[in-house]
Assembly symmetry: C2
Homo-oligomer: 240 residues x 2
Amino acid sequence: MIGCDCDVCRSPDPRDQRLRSSIYIETPECSFVVDTGTDFRTQALRENIRKVDAVVFTHSHTDHIMGFDDLRRFSHARGSMPVYASPETMRDLERAFRFAFSTSNPVPYYLKPEPHIIDDPFKLGETLITPLAVPHGDSIVNGYLFSRANQKLVAYLSDCSAVPDAIADLISGVKVLIIDALRERPHPTHLSVGQALAVAARVKPRDTYFTHICHDLPQSAESRLPAYTHIAYDGLQLRL
Amino acid sequence: MIGCDCDVCRSPDPRDQRLRSSIYIETPECSFVVDTGTDFRTQALRENIRKVDAVVFTHSHTDHIMGFDDLRRFSHARGSMPVYASPETMRDLERAFRFAFSTSNPVPYYLKPEPHIIDDPFKLGETLITPLAVPHGDSIVNGYLFSRANQKLVAYLSDCSAVPDAIADLISGVKVLIIDALRERPHPTHLSVGQALAVAARVKPRDTYFTHICHDLPQSAESRLPAYTHIAYDGLQLRL
């Protein structure tokens, strides 16, 4: 954190230096990113990302959208950028990045969003993407379940303060659960480690990865977690 | 640039890896930043910035404002964050970051902007800041002249496609001119190297620093520039 001298902010473990939460998914048919936070350009350069065929948003908080304009390179390569978001999130994107959504947007290398409002499950290539509406403090945001060939592969719940029973049932048995676990202490808009573990105990994934971790939780805390429960870090790659 | 294999993007000179343009000014009385581009958090961490007493905006393009919310840490420390911007830029900031400007913004650690519309020269501590209205393609944006004790210390013109005669006269003889020089080839919204050199020849600063440089212009091009003309790089510090 800016201006912080805590053990995690000064940690020599590079995994304790964290950028904003996001995932990039490559499939045989297409590649897409979930959220373009403020660090999107830095992350795309670090991972040498060459192709983004679509972007899917969880919600419109600044740490999830403010890198949106850096999709321009990928948008220009394709001609436009398919954007999948809830009605509320799309409205906020259109407000914050009005120049891009404007129909009079004339500059060829500008970002050209192609809005797709999410209301039901949708497909990108052969990947079925099921929105998971979860509370994030006072607001409702989307997590996502990614399935291929009727296999539940990944549930991504980056920001939530609770996981309703119906959602836990829907993602039950998923291979990988990536879930908000901000810190040990409770927080009004994010799950704590204990709350995330309780969700995982119910969902029973093969592996659980904590994400959206704050500087209260060092990477080294992973050794105290149950088996198959990990603290995700920047640049982590999973092959499923 | 994302997905680019040109010589500059693959350069081993770390100064060829550039984040978004911005400057941070420390004075005996206070410290302030000009623009909070998308990389503001990364830059504040890199430079170990501990205090921001105000932010001054040149204009509202995404590469100059999208890191605005990362001022929250400094805003919380002070109680609020004085924001200086033209009416147009303030309007765009209020639109893109509506939650922060909302009077019902209730969360104590949220960014609390304190808007100051710039129409005339203003002071931050003992520094007189004179807005310099310059064309940036079809729009008019602000550069700034920073003076102390009637000495013209720095003129900052990060984004401009021309420098009107009246502005060149106003900043004539400034100690340091920091000026847009995107690349050798002309560009509709930014000065080229040749155009920036022509402005410098007229303004006659002690030193000229090129900024807002794109990947067409390597750091090594500095050796071909006239004396006292430099290519700025990330982390460059000047003491005046």
